[in-house]
């Protein structure tokens, strides 16, 4: 699988280092600025991994609460963005686990229209196909796909965020891609 340098420009401007240092020292106002600057990004990440609004909200909240508690122990403030994404991925995992016995799949209101179109006979668009296929995947596979394809993280950064060797990151991404492909094919076969 080729590795392309692809930085996602959806992440906003880098957080000022002085804000991070102040927040690490307990400055709540500085932390508030960070929360407001990064909340949309974190919510987008947890939402993409978990697939429903309620869980994504919980996971996004927990991300920043955990970040506030652990910020003082961040050894490399210059890697704040990757660290925050790691915390977000872990929060998403925790939220998913705590919901693991839920049997009802919540349909986010924002995708109801897309699903209505599908039920009406319109061909599903790629986002809807992806949505359905991701729901079949374990949360860890969703996370690595989201980090790579939505957040634009290359292999080296995936390894850093997930705290695994680069070779492992590559093979996990490979496995997740194949699982996604299988899920898409299975959905397509049922839809025929």
């Amino acid at each position: 699988m080729g590795e392309r340098a692809r930085r996602d420009t959806r992440i906003g401007p880098a957080i000022d280092r002085s804000l991070i240092d102040r927040a690490r020292n307990g400055d709540l106002d500085a932390f508030e600025t960070i929360v407001r600057a990064r909340m949309d990004d974190v919510y987008r990440l947890t939402s993409a991994i978990l697939g429903n609004e309620a869980d994504a909200r919980d996971a996004a909240q927990e991300t920043f609460v955990a970040a506030w508690r652990q910020l003082a122990r961040l050894r490399e403030p210059e890697k704040f963005e990757a660290w925050l994404q790691r915390v977000a991925v872990n929060s998403a995992r925790q939220t998913h686990r705590s919901r693991s016995r839920r049997r009802i799949r919540e349909i986010p209101s924002s995708t109801v229209a897309a699903l209505a179109d599908r039920a009406a006979g319109a061909p599903p668009d790629d986002a809807a196909i992806l949505d359905a296929a991701l729901a079949r995947l374990p949360v860890d596979q969703r996370a690595i796909l989201v980090l790579h394809h939505l957040e634009g993280r290359p292999i080296a950064e995936l390894a850093s965020i997930l705290e695994i060797p680069e070779g492992t990151a590559k093979s996990r991404l490979f496995t997740a891609r194949r699982a996604l492909a299988d899920a898409i094919r299975a959905d397509e076969a049922r839809g025929r």
Binding site: V35, R44, A48, R69, A114, I129, L130
Partner: protein, 736 residues
């Protein structure tokens, strides 16, 4: 196989992810909710609020408090003194422990400090799964917590970070039984317990997420002694067994097997109840269930890379109070643990802590270093650690690797029971039959006079799977003093698709021994069955059909053995008296892979797994070729057809890039099947697969864009009459 029209490449995936993310708007009040939660925590208020109800509770806090009975605890002004390390490990917070819990298959031993709340005396529903497993999170364990912050819970869960601790057969007399009494607790334990594999599929999360406590370190700052539990009640006949051994006796026995380990718990229990502690032994393994009294002892020991590992010993106290049987939990594969017999001998003089690995002797003479090649056939030679770093249960990457290491052979005098047939050939044998590949040479035995391996390697090590059909020419490596490690380079891979069970994909499967100390491994074929054909003829056929490889290693097996070792082998090879297996190393898209190319001795056809490589090649137009793959070997001839009348035709849908395919027969020629389709001028090579009743046709090679279209027709002659109504056109299916 050509690309399909709906191929999901990187760009399409990225676009779909972004489109999907755009459908979900961020809630505007989320930042406020976060700030409401963190502000009270940092300013000293210990109030905890349910996560989703911030806005509601802001106006109805009193009502909520009355409804759920929230009681708030503040931290003591002078927190009880607690150690900062336990067993040499830093003591983690509950939140930090949760970070480890989130890692898949992370069973490292950790020390954790938190606030313990016992389960309330509430009735529990009957469990759906009646089987016993000490690590399953059944009620009331699900109401027992180790929390980041002190809270009085009642029946509600904590609002701070928390985990479920389980204390399987530990002395809990110092722990409170009322959830009102919240105590500061320091414990040693782990997640992803090995016994979780025996939980049901639906319980895996619950079992793996439970924090299994191996040792209570302190309760409210008070050190806790090592736990000794005597649970002596028998099931049948009713009554108690009485031990003769004391705790000191037990410790002395364990010290024989693990002189550097620290005992953390002892349990005495009748053998018939062993299933409550070790479910795998409850199946009858080693006959433990029939023993009168068993001691289960856990000990902590520093392993490689400063990690602390748990060692579990099962000691049998016979009716005379003697010790003749002992076992230790050992890994059978990536995530399955069994128990292996161990030998209890008086401890020898403790070796110096810095004793280097011992060079085995006497013959052949080996040094602690070996002149390993750094590359082989142009590919890098990696170490054992590199392979270990790639072993994960979800790995399906079968990239081939050349791996160097010190090989230790299994005891040739020991016999393992037959493998379980339903798990496929990729399965670890019993411990006595395991092969070892060590990063550094080590002595794997404690007693030079005892010809068995009873010591784990301290450094990185693999248990490679070496199947009988693999070229593996090693001399006898077992001498009177034990097994001698031999420097080798092996060709092998992970992610073998023959694995019949999930952890099997993490096994390192050997394809060939390519180098051993002193010289390259023998280039002769590895023969387990007599063959008639000479090597040159076989290689010519393999190279013609499979293409030249970077390297090829040959072996010959019987058809019957082929069926066991290569579960995807085609049926007609399984009946052959002798089958050649050419392990061909190819580099595809920069990735080396080993293909098992199969051909019968003195045969004609060549397979790669279930894929027939031998084709009937037919020129159907100028620079247009049709490759016909005849799986059942029924086609005796093929020719390009001319339009002829009086044929009965049926039409079916081929793959999207092929379109309609017509099948026809002429009644006067019952052995012939006519196949017609429309192809473009850019389709240079077509592939037709006949699998007995089904025709699959697709363009294998397409150059540029098609502009002109031509009707092609071919005629296949079979060795039997064809019935049109029994033949269908395949559309390629989901996987192609």
């Amino acid at each position: 196989m050509t690309d399909r029209s709906r191929y999901w490449d990187d760009d399409r995936l990225t676009s779909a992810f972004r489109e999907r993310a755009a459908l979900r708007a961020g809630p505007p009040d989320l930042a406020l909710a976060v700030l409401e939660r963190v502000r009270p925590a940092r300013t000293g208020h210990a109030a905890r609020l349910p996560r989703r109800s911030v806005a509601i509770l802001a106006s109805s806090a009193v009502v909520i408090a009355l409804l759920v009975g929230v009681f708030v605890l503040t931290r003591p002004a002078n927190p009880v003194a607690s150690p900062t390390t336990a067993f040499g490990r830093p003591i983690l917070s509950v939140e930090e422990a949760i970070g480890i819990q989130a890692q898949p298959n992370d069973d490292r031993e950790i020390a954790v400090r938190g606030w313990f709340s016992a389960a309330p005396a509430a009735p529990c529903p009957a469990p759906i799964d009646q089987s016993v497993n000490p690590v399953r999170l059944d009620c009331p364990r699900t109401m027992q917590w180790l929390m980041e912050d002190p809270e009085q819970l009642g029946v509600r869960p904590p609002t701070s970070a928390a985990i479920h601790p389980i204390f399987p057969f530990l002395d809990q007399s110092l722990l409170p039984t009322d959830p009102i009494d919240v105590v500061d607790l320091v414990v040693m334990g782990h997640f992803d317990d090995r016994r979780a594999v025996m939980c049901g599929v639906d319980d895996q999360f619950g079992c793996r997420d439970a924090f299994i406590v191996d040792r209570l370190v302190s309760v409210d700052g008070q050190a806790v002694p090592t736990s000794t539990v005597l649970d002596l009640q028998r099931l049948e006949p009713f009554g108690r067994v009485l031990p003769r051994w004391s705790a000191s006796d037990v410790d002395a026995l364990v010290a024989m097997a693990a002189p550097r380990a620290t005992i953390v718990s002892r349990l005495a229990i009748p053998g018939q109840r062993i299933f409550e502690v070790e479910p795998s032994l409850g199946t009858g393994a080693h006959g433990i269930v029939g023993r009168q009294l068993i001691w289960v002892v856990n000990a902590l020991e520093s392993g490689p890379t400063q990690a602390v590992v748990v060692r579990t010993f099962v000691l049998v106290e016979d009716d005379r109070g003697e010790a003749h049987e002992a076992y230790e939990a050992v890994p059978w594969s990536q995530s399955v643990t069994g128990f292996a017999a161990i030998n209890l001998r008086p401890p020898q003089e403790s070796p110096a802590a810095t004793e280097p690995p011992v060079t085995p002797s006497p013959n052949p003479t080996l040094s602690a270093t070996a002149d390993f090649p750094t590359s082989w056939l142009g590919l890098p030679v990696v170490g054992v650690s590199d392979v270990i770093s790639r072993q994960t249960p979800d790995l399906i990457d079968d990239t081939a690797m050349f791996v160097r290491g010190w090989y230790v052979a299994p005891d040739p005098t020991d016999q393992c029971p037959a493998l379980q047939d339903d798990r496929g050939p990729i399965e670890q044998p019993c411990p006595a039959g395991q092969h070892w590949l060590l990063e550094q040479p080590e002595r794997l035995w404690t007693d030079p006079g005892g010809p068995w391996i009873d010591r784990r390697p301290a450094g990185p090590a693999l248990n490679p799977i070496v199947l009988p059909d693999v070229p593996f020419d090693v001399p006898n490596l077992w001498f009177d003093t034990g097994p001698s490690p031999l420097p080798v380079v092996l060709l092998g891979h992970l992610g073998d698709t023959r694995s019949g069970y999930y952890p099997g994909v993490a096994q390192f499967v050997v394809d060939a021994l390519v180098w051993r100390a002193g010289d390259a491994a023998s280039a002769r074929p590895w023969l387990t069955e007599p063959s008639v054909e000479d090597v040159t003829s076989v290689m010519a056929r393999v190279d013609r059909e499979a293409g030249p490889a970077v390297g090829t290693w040959l072996s010959v097996v019987s058809g019957a053995e082929l069926a066991v070792l290569h579960t995807d082998a085609p049926p007609d090879l399984r009946d052959a008296p002798a089958v050649w297996i050419a392990r061909s190393l190819l580099v595809e898209d920069g990735r080396p892979r080993v293909h098992a190319i199969l051909t019968a001795d003195k045969g004609r056809r060549v397979w790669s797994g279930m894929t027939l490589l031998t084709t009937i090649d037919l020129q159907i137009g100028d620079d247009v070729t049709l490759e016909i793959s005849d799986g059942p070997d029924e086609i005796v001839a093929a020719r390009a057809g001319l339009p002829e009348g009086a044929a009965e035709w049926v039409t079916g849908d081929g793959p999207p890039e092929t379109g309609k395919v017509m099948l026809g027969v002429i009644p006067e020629r019952p052995n012939e099947l006519r196949i017609a389709w429309i192809g473009g001028d850019c389709d240079r090579t077509w592939r037709l697969g006949w699998s007995g009743g089904e025709v699959l046709l697709w363009p294998r090679e397409r150059l540029g864009e098609c502009r002109l279209w031509t009707r092609w027709e071919v005629v296949l002659t079979f060795d039997h009459a064809v019935e049109l109504e029994t033949i269908r056109v395949s559309n390629g299916g989901a996987g192609g």
